[in-house]
Symmetry: C2
Subunit: 599 residues, 2 copies
């Protein structure tokens, strides 16, 4: 090794010992004939002092981020010079020799956590960005997270298995990334959106307990916080029911939050999808604050107000919201419109209990009289309303609830709130979602989770005659309003799988073409099985208190899937294109009449 000690490990007990350090010049100060540097390595920082002679002369050439090797003697700092903020703050190293291992050009930005740098620049020089404490900490934490999860799973008898990433394109919802297969011109591999099919096949194979920290790929339009490749902790188990998967999932999650000193109390509470939507207007409710929606559909059953003559009417109360100035309520309308709603009806409750705002005069006298009690509002509050189809209106009110929570400081940013959302619908109407999965063209229904999710046992006979009422044997884990994992008990019978495909509009022929190998596998004694997948990037982001997934990925892509560091993706050469067989044209098949005629 080019050093014998880590800089961050030096303590007063090392006084008088000779050490060799190697690292970077984090700071250099020239104090009238004496030069100090902060020498930084992965372990921390130590002060090195160059007092006199040749080594002092050599130190004059040092600049920020020069990579150096220093041999010197550890000494207690002179009284008054200690730095109590630094673990090594009581000592310094009196340099005897200095070797510049490599020089640094002037930096595009200072290596300093307190300085704000544009993200494109940070990503282009990610190798400098990662010299800063917070980004480096995030990657180190990520490694600890993976280790903690593996320890839980290894100890519980799970087998880590690598599944292929050059796979078959079986559209599961999102678009596949495609890879031309040079040796089979005209054919393409797809990068997997998840190891779903392979992990189910491993259960058919009798592996019983599988996990993998798996790279997955989705060719989506990059929204703010999407990456074309992402990581999930992927778990599958045989001979289990929902409670078994939830139990192992809780063990994993508890082990991760323990890394940051938070003990999750288990069992984590559960809430049904229906209750989550009714109370919080979200299938991933943030339960760090208790504000709930109130359903008013019955209350307004005979209302004269046209807008409230709707399949669903609900409300959410903003404490003290009545004092919002007019332009504040205008801003709420704008907010609602940006979410695709027509607006956000509201009333204010004055100190004397009279209702204000444009809605107040449209509803009946009885409705006015009982409203505050019905929604649990008090003088000084504002009440926001939504009316329309149940799901979308609840989602609007749920978003308003979050906004009220944020603006009102109702959310304890240090709190951790976990909840399992269970009993989601098995299917949703294709005209009510953007996320149409395997179904055939023109199908009415698609899977809420995915096509391999089992109906709950009590829906097994009726899910295809009454798809709208069928519940999925599925569970999502939500942390502070973020879905951090989700899974389901899977279908393990070919007949059930075929019926689910049929509801989704897949003809038996389509099902065979796309998933024939899975259906065939199910015919050979497939065990009951289920699993869960955790969004690894998001979990590490929450644990690191980072604000973006990109903060916890070593070399993330920026917008549009571009890597500012290596400038990937890039054009390829005509030779590469030719070799890859991208433009292969299959030979025309011989005419049917000729080939079918015996010669």
């Amino acid at each position: 090794m080019l050093r014998d000690r880590n800089a961050g490990s030096l303590r007063p007990t090392d006084d008088g010992t000779t050490v060799t350090l190697a690292g970077w010049v984090a700071r250099r100060r020239d104090h009238g004939g004496v030069i100090f540097i902060d020498l930084r390595d992965a372990s921390g920082v130590a002060q090195v002092v160059f007092h006199s002679g040749e080594v002092l002369a050599a130190a004059h050439q040092l600049r920020s981020e020069y990579c150096v090797r220093v041999t010197g003697t550890v000494a207690i700092r002179p009284a008054g010079n200690e730095n109590p903020d630094l673990p090594t703050g009581a000592i310094e190293v009196e340099a005897l020799t200095l070797e510049v291992l490599s020089e640094s050009a002037p930096l595009p930005f200072q290596i300093d956590d307190t300085i704000s740098v544009g993200e494109e620049t940070r990503l282009k020089y990610r190798y400098l960005d990662l010299r800063r404490a917070a980004p480096a900490h995030a990657l180190r934490l990520r490694a600890k997270v993976s280790r903690a999860a593996r320890d839980v799973l290894d100890d519980a008898g799970f087998v880590e298995i690598e599944t292929p990433t050059l796979t078959r394109s079986t559209p599961e919802g999102a678009r596949d990334f495609l890879v031309p297969a040079r040796l089979r011109p005209g054919s393409w591999y797809a990068l997997p959106q998840s190891p779903q099919l392979f992990k189910q096949l491993l259960m058919v194979a009798g592996m019983e307990r599988y996990y993998q920290i798996a790279r997955c790929y989705r060719d989506e339009d990059f929204r703010a916080d999407r990456q074309p490749e992402f990581t999930q902790l992927d778990i599958e188990m045989s001979f289990v029911e929902q409670d078994d998967v939830i139990a192992i999932g809780e063990q994993v999650i508890a082990s991760l939050w323990r890394l940051i000193g938070h003990e999750i109390s288990t069992p984590i509470p559960r809430i049904s999808f229906r209750e989550a939507m009714d109370k919080y207007g979200s299938d991933k409710p943030d339960l760090r604050f208790d504000l709930q929606l109130t359903e008013l559909t019955d209350y307004f059953a005979s209302t004269p107000f046209r807008v409230f003559q709707a399949p669903y009417v609900g409300a959410v109360v903003q404490k003290g919201g009545a004092s919002t100035p007019r332009r504040g309520f205008d801003a709420w309308q704008e907010w609602a419109k940006q979410r695709g709603a027509r607006g956000l009806a509201y009333v204010t409750i004055a100190a004397d209990g009279t209702l204000g705002g444009p809605v107040a005069k449209n509803i009946s006298e009885d409705e006015r009289a009982g409203l505050a009690a019905a929604v649990g509002a008090e003088p000084g509050d504002a009440v926001f309303f939504g009316a329309g189809t149940r799901r979308s209106t609840q989602e609007l009110l749920g978003a308003a609830r979050l906004e009220i929570g944020r603006r009102g400081g109702l959310i304890d940013e240090d709190a951790w709130s976990f909840v399992w959302v269970v009993d989601a619908p098995l299917f949703e109407r294709t005209d009510e979602t953007d996320d149409v999965t395997v179904g055939g063209a023109g199908s009415t229904w698609t899977a809420v989770h995915h096509a391999f999710t089992s109906p709950k046992p009590e829906c097994l006979d009726t899910f295809d005659t009454d798809p709208g009422s069928a519940l999925a044997y599925a569970y999502d884990i939500v942390c502070n309003g973020n879905e951090i994992g989700g899974g389901s008990i899977r279908i393990h019978r070919a007949d059930v799988q075929e019926r689910v495909f049929a509801v989704m509009g897949l003809t038996p022929e389509d099902a065979q073409t796309k998933f024939g190998f899975l259906l065939e596998a199910f015919s050979f004694g497939a065990p009951p099985h289920g699993g869960i997948a955790f969004g690894w990037d998001r979990i590490v982001m929450l644990l690191a208190k980072a604000t973006s997934l990109r903060e916890v990925i070593a070399f993330p892509k920026s917008g549009g899937g571009f890597d500012p560091l290596t400038a990937a993706p890039a054009p390829i050469t005509p030779e590469q294109r030719k070799e890859a067989g991208v433009d292969y044209v299959p030979p025309k098949p011989a005419k049917a009449t000729e080939s079918s005629t015996p010669s």
Copy 2:
């Protein structure tokens, strides 16, 4: 859980307890009114007996590989019925209830390790193949191997970091797999051949100790035992020299072989590339047997035999080979021709010391007289000769050495022999290798390891004026004649990297285009660093005593990169092709005269 005990865990101490098992019907025997099944799960096998009544009636429907759940009472087997080969062989479970969890269609092959099944069938039904003991064991061993390596590295302060797999195409030797980037039509990602550049950037980033069990991709023509995607344990360290990387590599390797009960004695011996070629005719010598080549270039310096008037002449002795019948020696000629040689000259030594075979009469009397002593042969032996260019002739003799070892039973198949091969040449001539790396067209030299390998310190001044003599600061670890890992100290200075690129025929412009981001990174205080990568598939194959890499991969590809299970790769739809932007034609740029004229 659908069961409360694992079948393989039952023991006589469980006598009288009621257990619920779930697993597969491995065997069913009908013994006149009583039915026995072997119930298999991941833990092992237990015998279940159906004595009478409803449960016996139900058991009649059972067939091989039905997936079942049985509740019953553990009982000591009747005297004489014990099976000492089975951990559970002293007990059986008297069934009280039977539930068929799922039925099995007739199997394409029996789930039985002793039955040989064609590989294409095994891969098509890999989920059945993996129900067999040996294939399942290989995957479980693989998980243990990964865990052991991670434990060593985690405990040594390494950080596991995931590097991107949608990267830039930077041809490093093999062909890249390419991925069209829909959001940047005309641009493509490449799947990485290794994380090489990213791990070096992580060193520049100050992460200091990195590892990853990384998926890598090479679009090669599939030889017998190649896979388009493969796994390596990838390690990189800063502030190290060769001995430091070798030391951590030995810790990893020792921990893996400990899993199969073998203690590797460290330090593992080292041999120079030159000595390995001279003595064993291989850069990955199998040292399980000691047979060595003898160089005879000087011995035949004035030979009258035209064939031996060559830059290199060498020999290898086969003990007792003189008794080989004439057709045996003919077969050796055939063997040599299949390796691209013209033949394999030989002499036999009769009991009285006289030399036989066609070569004997071509060499001089003096040469005949001293030959046995020169090569260490005795009466009854055969001596095989090679003559020609040094490297290719040594390789031929090295292959003959292995063949002699195999045929003569000289190789102890239970032995483990490890050796580091060090001091390989830095460059080789492009006309002497198929494996031309980054170099420009028409370059004379290419890198033996890769373009990022540092010259040894003593060659730093001369490697570009005398490329043929420069040694690489590199090391390969060889086990029983298999290269299982390799690495190097890297270049960390832009000027040295640029000089290496120049030797390889890369113009400064090419270097900037392909590796500009790396050269730029080196300008910001890059630390000295080095690393190693282990071939994970090959190591697990050796540990499992498997005969093919495919045995230790969950879902391997067969010849030509085809997956018989999912039938990947497959044609894509015209819509997929269109969306992926494969056929994007860039708009014609405006004419130069127009765009360069200020308006």
